[in-house]
Structure formats: structure tokens, C-alpha cells
């Protein structure tokens, strides 16, 4: 079994109103050195290992988990015993 940890982030240049609101909140908590916040998504997908597991994960990210118009993704695959 494999645990796939997927991180989805907004592409550079895409406005992130949520990140901006969080950034403003951090400023009001006196974290003056915070210059930017971008909010993304984190997912864990448990799946059986196959030879083409990376290909599969790429495909599921492109098809559904991320929207390639506005989002990038990275992932790591861990062995689970």
C-alpha cells in the first residue's frame, strides 16, 4: 500500500482572496514580517502500488484533483506497512 500526499497550490499570478484575508489577519496579530500568504489544499490518497503509480497520480491530478488552469500540484509517495 502507498500513501500519496498531494499538495495543490494556486499558480503564480492567480489572485488568492483567501490568502490575502489570512495575510491581513496575521498583520493584525502583529506579524509584521509576513509578506504574503497563499492558501492551498492537501490531500492523502491511499492506493495499491502499481508500476505506473506516478503516471496514475499525475492523471488523477490533471483530471480532477487540481484544475490546471489555476492550480499546480506536487506529491510524494510513501510506503505504508
Amino acid at each position: 500500500m502507498r500513501k500519496v500526499k498531494i499538495y495543490i497550490t494556486l499558480k503564480e499570478g492567480v489572485l488568492d482572496p483567501q490568502g490575502k484575508a489570512v495575510q491581513n489577519s496575521l498583520h493584525s496579530l502583529e506579524y509584521k514580517n509576513v509578506s504574503e500568504v497563499r492558501v492551498g489544499k492537501y490531500m492523502e490518497v491511499m492506493m495499491e502500488d502499481t508500476n505506473d503509480i506516478e503516471e496514475q497520480v499525475d492523471k488523477m491530478c490533471d483530471q480532477l484533483l487540481a484544475n490546471p488552469v489555476i492550480e499546480n500540484y506536487t506529491y510524494t509517495i510513501e510506503e505504508v506497512v
Binding site: V14, L15, P17, Q18, A21, L65, V69, I70
Partner: protein, 227 residues
């Protein structure tokens, strides 16, 4: 003319869409459950607003993977009018029938009020009953209506006259004040404002009715030619 209103779990403007076609326009309409839909016998496909699958993952993303999507794609390829309003627009974007994507509104607020739209292209099958550059009043009701596309796509939309409607006072941060776009062929329209909520003077105004009348006129003309 026969319209199909495709109902997903979480659609909530399906009845308004049905009413707009059946009572205001005076044509045939059916509410079709997404799992039982047989779209080939309909002349037009309407994707209503709402919150399909609770907007999980991204608005419209889950609905865009359901079985009925293949039939919607077929209807679009056959040149039938396909209209997606609000969540319907988001589904059309997620399934790739229209370019771009939807982000949260610039101020993160859900907004529900009338907006003034400008008819940018009055030559589409959805807008032919409007005057070019006419200003109309149509209600919006959305939290994720901030249309985004990259510069190249925006230029392409402009060059191909795919921008059907723009906002006079951009409420949500959309690129180019975009409120509604068509595909290149012009038979698929996605728009955030709700024309089906503006089809009767008694409940506001009837600026939205001419959109449905445009579809009907187009269909009748096509039919007359074929006959």
C-alpha cells in the same frame, strides 16, 4: 422546442429554469435527473445553478465527472444550444467545454443582487433578441463567480467574439468584467447571472426572457430552413 434541465444532487435553480421555459417562454421542458438523462431527444440542454455536490473540491468539479457529461458533450458537438447558468457555467468550465476557471469572489462574499450587464455580442443564438451593447438587468447569486483565464485565452475570447455579456460594475473581480462567454462555435453559453430569474415583470423584470426567446428564434429559423 424541447428543453432538458439537467438536475444534479445540489442543483437548486432547476425549478426556476423549468418555469422560465415552460411558463414564461411557453415551450416544452423536462427536469431530468442526471443519472437517468437521455439527452438525445432534446433540442437544447440547460444546466441550472445551485451547489452540485456541495461545491466539494471546486465548484462544478465533481459534477463534471458524472456519466451524463458525455451526453452533454455530444449535444454540444451536435451544435445544440447548451446553456449553463451559475453552477452550470462552473460545470462547463470544469468539463472543458468553455475555457478558463472560476475563483472565489474578490471580496470572498456570497453576493445576491441585480447587476447591469452589457450585451457584448448580440449575434449569438443566445443573444440575438438583444440590441448590440444593450444594457440589461439580471440578478447574480454566487460566491465563486470570479472568472479567470490567462492573457492569451482572454485575447482569444475577444478575437473570436466569445464574450457574450460583461458587467457594468464588476462585482466579483472577473477578468475583463466577463459575465458570460460562449465556445468558439457559439452554441455553448456559460454565464454567472441568472436570466431564468428575470423572466416576469411581476417578480422583478423580464430582461432574461429574451435570452430564451433567442434560443427559440434560432431553433425555429434552423427548422424552417431544414423543412
Amino acid at each position: 422546442m424541447k428543453f432538458a434541465v439537467v438536475v444534479f444532487p445540489g442543483s437548486n435553480c432547476d425549478r426556476d429554469m423549468y418555469f422560465a421555459v415552460k411558463d414564461a417562454l411557453g415551450e416544452e421542458a423536462d427536469l431530468v435527473w442526471y443519472q437517468e438523462a437521455e439527452l438525445s431527444s432534446y433540442d437544447a440542454v440547460l444546466l441550472p445553478g445551485g451547489f452540485s455536490y456541495g461545491d466539494y473540491l471546486r465548484s462544478g468539479a465533481i459534477a463534471s465527472t458524472s456519466d451524463v457529461i458525455g451526453q452533454i458533450r455530444e449535444a454540444a458537438e451536435a451544435g445544440k444550444p447548451v446553456l449553463g447558468v451559475c453552477n452550470g457555467f462552473q460545470i462547463l468550465l470544469e468539463m472543458g467545454l468553455l475555457p478558463g476557471a472560476m475563483l472565489s469572489n474578490k471580496h470572498l462574499k456570497f453576493m445576491c443582487h441585480f447587476e447591469t450587464l452589457k450585451v457584448e455580442n448580440a449575434e449569438t443564438m443566445f443573444t440575438r433578441e438583444y440590441e448590440p451593447q444593450e444594457k440589461i438587468s439580471i440578478p447574480i447569486a454566487h460566491g465563486d463567480g470570479n472568472y479567470y483565464c490567462d492573457e492569451a485565452t482572454y485575447q482569444e475570447l475577444k478575437d473570436n467574439r466569445q464574450i457574450a455579456f460583461t458587467y457594468e460594475n464588476n462585482p466579483n473581480g472577473s477578468v475583463g468584467d466577463i459575465a458570460g462567454i460562449t465556445n468558439k462555435a457559439g452554441n455553448v453559453l456559460g454565464m454567472m447571472p441568472h436570466p431564468e430569474r428575470a423572466v416576469e415583470a411581476l417578480v422583478g423584470n423580464e430582461d432574461g426572457l429574451r435570452l430564451f426567446q433567442s434560443i427559440l428564434t434560432h431553433w425555429r429559423n434552423n427548422h424552417a430552413i431544414k423543412a
